[in-house]
Assembly symmetry: C2
C-alpha cells in the first residue's frame, strides 16, 4: 500500500473521531509565508506532492488536490497511486476548492481545518460562500501532532544580528519610522505576522526555512514598545541586552494570541486580514478596532535605502560574475563533458558559492532543457533529470542570497542553432522585457498599469504568458516580496504604487507546451527621474548583469530604441563584470556583449 494511502486512511479515521465531514488543508505555516519550515510541509508528507502551493480537500470518499498552473504536470505525476486526485481546471475540473465545496458539500456538514494555517480573509470568503449550505466550521482541528510521528521539529536555531553595514539603518530609526506612519492613521498597535517584516525591522536574520534567512516569530508594535514573540533561547545574549535598551521586549512565541486578546478597549490595531491567520485575527476582541491594511513595514522595507542600493549594486556584480563564469564553462564543456539539468544546477551553485558574502540559493533553481523549459517552475529531480543534448533551448532561472542582498535572474540560451520560431519568440519576449525596463511613469502609477508593456509585443502576435510580469524582491530576505507586483491582477497586499527605491523583477515569457519555454528576467530598481509641471516622473535601472543570448535575437523585429537599449546594457555588463573575470572569460564576454 502506498504510504500516502495509508496516511490518508489514518486521517479519515481522525476525521471520523472528531466528527468532521470534510477536512481542508492549504500550504502554509502560522505566518502564511511562501518559504516554510519543514515542520509545516504537511501536504508533501501527506500526499507526496512537493510543489510550493496547494490545497487539499478530504471527505469520506474524496481526496482532492488543487494547485496553480506552475505545477499541473508535477502534481499529476507525484499524485499517481497516492489516493489523492489532482483537479486539473483546464481539463474540466473546478477552478478552485471553494467552488468545489459549494457544489458538492452536503448541507449542514462540518468542515475541519486548522485556523492557524489559513488567513482570516480566505476563511471569511469561504464562510460567506458556503453560508447558504449552513456549514459549521471546526477551526481547531489539527490531527498531525498524532499522525505524523517522525515530523521535523519546530525550528529552534539562533537568530543573528544583521548590522547597519548591511541594513543601512538602525532598528531604532526604523521603529520610529513605523510609529510615525502609525500616527498618520491614528493606530495604537501594529501586528506583524510576517517574519520578513520583523527581520527587517529589528535588523536580525534567521535560518528557519530553506531559501530565506528568517526566524519564525510575531511582533506587536505599540507607541512605546515593541513586543517580539520568540523564544528567548533563540536570541543571542548581546542582542537581548540591546533590545532591552531599545524598548524591545521578548515574550514567548505561544503568547501572541493571549496578548492580542488583552488589548485595551477602543484601541486601533493594524492587522492584515490577508496575512494573518484566522485564529490570530479572531483572537482580537471586538472592543478593539482592526484597521485591515498591509503592514507598514511591508511597504517601508520594499523601499531600499542608500546602503541597501549600493550593496545591491555590488551583489549584482558578484552574481553576474558567477553567471558569466558558469556560462563560459558550460559552452566550453558542451559536447565534451556529459551534462544534465541537475549537474548544471550544481555547477551554477558552485560559482555562486565562490563569491563573497554568499549564503545560498534564494529559491530552488529552474534549470530546464527543451520540453522542461515550458514548465515555468520546473525543478529537476533524479527521475526527470534530462541530459543536455546538442540542440535545444536551455532556461535557467536562479538567484542567490548574499549578506548584501538577494538576486533573481533568468536567462534562456540556445544550444546549437535555434529555429526561426525560437528566435521570433525570444525576440518578442525581449522586446517586452526592454519596453518595461525603459518606461517612464508618473509617481503613483501601480504595477497593474505597466504590466502591458512587457506583453504587448507578444499579444500582437497572439501570444501570452500565464504568470505575472514582476514581483518585488527582498534584501537578504524573501525573493518574492509584496507590495511591488507587475501583473494583470492585484491583491490588497500589492495594490499600491511603485515607489523610488523599490526593486522588482521584469520577466516576460512564452511557453510552448512540450516544446520549449523562453523567459528573460532582470531586476529593476525604481528611481526618481524628473519633476515637471505635470508631476514627478520615475524611471527604472536594470540592475541584473548578464549577457542576453544574441543567437536568439532577430534584430529586424527590434525598433531602434530597443536596439540602443540592448547595446548599452551589454556595454554595462562587460564593463562591470570583466574586472572580476579571467582573460579567456573576458574575451568570451566581449563577443557575447558586442553590439547587435
Amino acid at each position: 500500500m502506498n504510504i500516502s494511502k495509508e496516511r490518508l486512511s489514518l486521517l479519515r479515521e481522525a476525521m471520523k473521531t472528531r466528527g468532521c465531514n470534510y477536512f481542508i488543508i492549504s500550504t502554509g505555516d502560522p505566518h502564511l509565508e511562501e518559504n516554510i519550515p519543514d515542520h509545516w510541509q504537511i501536504i508533501a508528507w501527506l500526499t507526496g506532492f512537493t510543489g510550493s502551493a496547494a490545497t487539499v480537500v478530504i471527505s469520506e470518499d474524496a481526496a482532492l488536490l488543487w494547485t496553480d498552473s506552475r505545477y499541473y504536470i508535477q502534481a499529476g505525476l507525484q499524485l499517481e497511486g497516492s489516493g489523492f486526485s489532482f483537479i486539473h481546471p483546464v481539463q474540466g475540473g473546478k477552478n478552485d476548492f471553494a467552488e468545489w465545496l459549494r457544489e458538492n458539500c452536503l448541507k449542514e456538514s462540518i468542515i475541519g481545518l486548522d485556523g492557524h494555517l489559513i488567513s482570516d480573509r480566505k476563511l471569511r470568503r469561504l464562510e460567506e460562500l458556503l453560508a447558504p449550505l449552513k456549514i459549521r466550521f471546526d477551526t481547531g482541528f489539527d490531527p498531525f501532532p498524532e499522525l505524523w510521528t517522525d515530523r521535523p521539529a519546530l525550528p529552534s536555531g539562533m537568530a543573528m544580528d544583521y548590522p547597519v553595514l548591511y541594513s543601512g539603518k538602525d532598528r531604532v530609526v526604523k521603529i520610529n519610522e513605523v510609529r510615525s506612519e502609525m500616527k498618520k492613521i491614528n493606530a495604537d498597535y501594529q501586528l506583524l505576522t510576517s517574519p520578513a517584516d520583523i527581520m527587517w525591522l529589528l535588523n536580525i536574520r534567521g535560518n528557519d526555512a530553506r531559501y530565506s534567512p528568517q526566524m519564525s516569530c510575531f511582533a506587536l508594535i505599540s507607541r512605546d514598545q515593541v513586543i517580539l514573540f520568540a523564544d528567548e533561547e533563540r536570541i543571542p545574549f548581546r542582542l537581548l541586552i540591546e533590545f532591552d535598551k531599545q524598548g524591545i521586549v521578548l515574550l514567548p512565541y505561544e503568547d501572541t494570541e493571549a496578548v492580542l486578546a488583552a488589548l485595551p478597549m477602543r484601541s486601533f490595531l493594524i492587522a492584515s486580514g490577508g496575512k494573518t491567520s484566522a485564529s490570530l485575527f479572531r483572537a482580537v476582541p471586538k472592543r478593539v478596532r482592526i484597521i485591515d491594511l498591509p503592514s507598514i513595514p511591508s511597504r517601508l522595507k520594499a523601499i531600499k535605502n542608500k546602503t541597501e542600493i549600493d550593496n545591491l549594486g555590488k551583489t549584482m556584480i558578484k552574481d553576474g560574475v558567477a553567471l558569466s563564469k558558469f556560462f563560459y564553462r558550460f559552452e566550453k564543456e558542451l559536447g565534451t563533458v556529459p551534462m544534465s539539468e541537475l549537474s548544471l544546477e550544481q555547477m551554477l551553485e558552485h560559482f555562486r558559492a565562490e563569491q563573497d558574502d554568499y549564503a545560498g540559493p534564494s529559491f530552488r533553481s529552474v534549470v530546464a532543457f527543451n520540453g522542461h523549459s515550458a514548465l515555468p517552475h520546473y525543478s529537476a529531480v533524479p527521475e526527470t533529470d534530462s541530459g543536455i543534448g546538442q540542440k535545444g533551448i536551455l532556461l535557467i532561472d536562479s538567484g542567490g542570497q548574499y549578506l548584501t542582498g538577494t538576486t533573481d535572474i533568468t536567462r534562456t540560451v540556445s544550444v546549437g542553432n535555434p529555429t526561426l520560431g525560437q528566435i521570433k519568440d525570444f525576440t518578442l519576449v525581449l522586446k517586452g522585457c526592454i519596453d518595461l525596463a525603459k518606461a517612464k511613469i508618473p509617481a503613483g502609477t501601480r504595477g497593474i498599469q505597466i504590466d502591458i508593456l512587457a506583453r504587448q509585443a507578444l499579444w500582437e502576435n497572439g501570444l501570452n504568458f500565464g504568470h505575472g510580469t514582476g514581483h518585488g524582491v527582498g534584501y537578504f530576505l524573501n525573493v518574492h516580496e509584496a507590495p511591488p507586483s507587475v501583473s494583470p491582477s492585484e491583491t490588497a497586499e500589492t495594490r499600491s504604487p511603485v515607489e523610488p527605491g523599490m526593486v522588482f523583477s521584469d520577466e516576460p515569457a512564452v511557453y510552448r507546451e512540450a516544446e520549449y519555454g523562453i523567459r528573460t528576467e532582470n531586476l529593476l530598481l525604481c528611481y526618481e527621474d524628473e519633476e515637471t509641471s505635470f508631476g514627478t516622473f520615475l524611471k527604472f535601472e536594470t540592475i541584473s548583469l548578464c549577457f542576453i543570448d544574441k543567437k536568439l535575437i532577430d534584430k529586424t523585429l527590434l525598433d531602434s530604441r530597443q536596439i540602443a537599449w540592448l547595446d548599452r546594457y551589454h556595454e554595462v555588463v562587460y564593463e562591470k563584470l570583466t574586472p572580476f573575470l579571467e582573460k579567456e572569460e573576458t574575451d568570451w564576454l566581449l563577443e557575447k556583449t558586442s553590439p547587435l
Copy 2:
C-alpha cells in the same frame, strides 16, 4: 444681498429647527445618475455653481463646496459673493468633504442629509470614517420642498416605445437573458435603480433630463415578473397592453421602498451599493441577502448587438458629415464672419440637426479657444464667451443623440499657424490615441491595464492628463456609461473586462493652464480578432469619422505604424463621408485627409 446668501441663511434656520449641526448635499437624484432632471439641481439653485458634480457641507459658520478638477476655475468664479467657499485641494484645501468633516466635525454632532440622494456605499464610508467622533446621522432631512418655492416639478412626460428596428432585440429576450445571468449566481431578484438600465431592458426611452433620453423609474426583476415603478400616466396605453402580456407590471414610483421592504425571507437580491441610494438600500430587510454587484443589465447593455452596431456605423457617418460641414464652413468664414465659442456651438448644432434621426446633443458641448481649451470641460456662457481670433488652438468636444445611437468626439484644430510646442503636444497626444486604437489584447483584459497605451508618449516627455482615457458610451442613452472605463483607477462598477461589442472613448489630452489644451477623441468598438493556442484576442475599430488636423502633426515624431494607421483612417473618413458632401466640401476633405 446675494440670492445664494439669502437661501443659505434660510437653510441654516431649517437646520436649527431640525437640530442638525451639519448638512451635506451632493449632486444627484434618487437614481444617482449624471444627467439629472431640473427638479434635482439643488446645488445650482442653492449656490449658483452649475457644474455637473459637487458636494456642499454647511454648518453654523461654514458653507463649503467641493468639486472635481474639471470645475476648479468655474467654481471659483460662480461662488464669488455667494456665501459659499470653494475648497481648492491643490491650494491647500482638504481633498474631500469627508476628510474635512473628520478633522473639523465636533464630537457627537448630528449630520443631516437626504438618504435618497446619496449612495449607500458613500454613506457607509462616511459613517465608518466618522465613527470615532460618535456622529449621529439624520438621513431624513430634506428642507427643499419648503425652501425652494419655485422648484421645477418632477418630470411627468410620456415614455416612448423604442422599436426593435433600433434596439435590435425584443424586450422579452433581454429579460430572459438577465434572468439566465441571475440564475448563474442564484439570485431571486435584481433591483434596477438606473433609468438607463430600464430603458435598455424594456426598449423604451424618455425625456426627463437634458442630454439623455431617460425616464426616471425603478424596476425589480424576479424570476417570473418585472415590476416597473413608474406612474401609469407616463406609459402610452399601447405599451401598457404589451407590458401586461409580457409579465411587466406597473406600480407607482413611490412604492419602490415598500416593495423592497416586503421581499420574502432568505431571498437573494442583486443591488449595487454604489448605485442605490442609502434609503432604498436600507429599506431591504435584514432577512434578505443582498448580492452587492453592478446590475446585470449594466453589463449586457454595454455589449452592443448587431443591429446597434450597424446603426451606430450609420450614425457615425451622419455625425462625421455634420462635423465636416461645420469645419468646412468654419474655415471658409474665418476672418470674414465674426465668430465666438457660443456661435460655433450653435453652428455645430445646426449641422447635426440637419441629420436624420437626430434628437439633440448628448452633453453640453465644449467649444473652447486658447486658454479656455485648457479647461477639460469648459462650456461657454455669455460672460466668458471668447471671440475666435486669427491665431490659436480651438478644441471642440461634442456629441449627438440619434435614434440610431449616441456619439462623442473631440477634435482640436489650429487657427492660423501653430507653434512648435503646440505641434509637439498634439503629436504626442495623437500617438497615444493611435496606440490605444491599434492595440490587440487577450480576452479578460481590463481598462486599467490598457490606459497606459494612450499616455506613454506623453509620460516619456514629462506630460500627463488628469482625467481617464476613456468611458463607455450608451446607445441612444447616457454618453457616459459603465462598465467600460480606460483609466488609472477602477470602481466596483468599472472593474470588469473589455468585451466584444463594447464601445468606449479614446481621448488622451494635454492641458497647459491659461495657454491651451489639446485633446483628440474617437470612439472605439471592441471586436474579436483571433483565437490562438494562447487564448482569444480582441481588437478595436475606430468608429468616429472626422479628419485630424495635419497642420498640428510632426510626422517625424510618429513611427511608421502610426503613420500607416493615420493615413488609412483618413482614407476611410474620406470614403465614408464624401457621398454625403457637396462638391466643394469633398475637395476640401480630400486635402484634409491626404496621406501625411
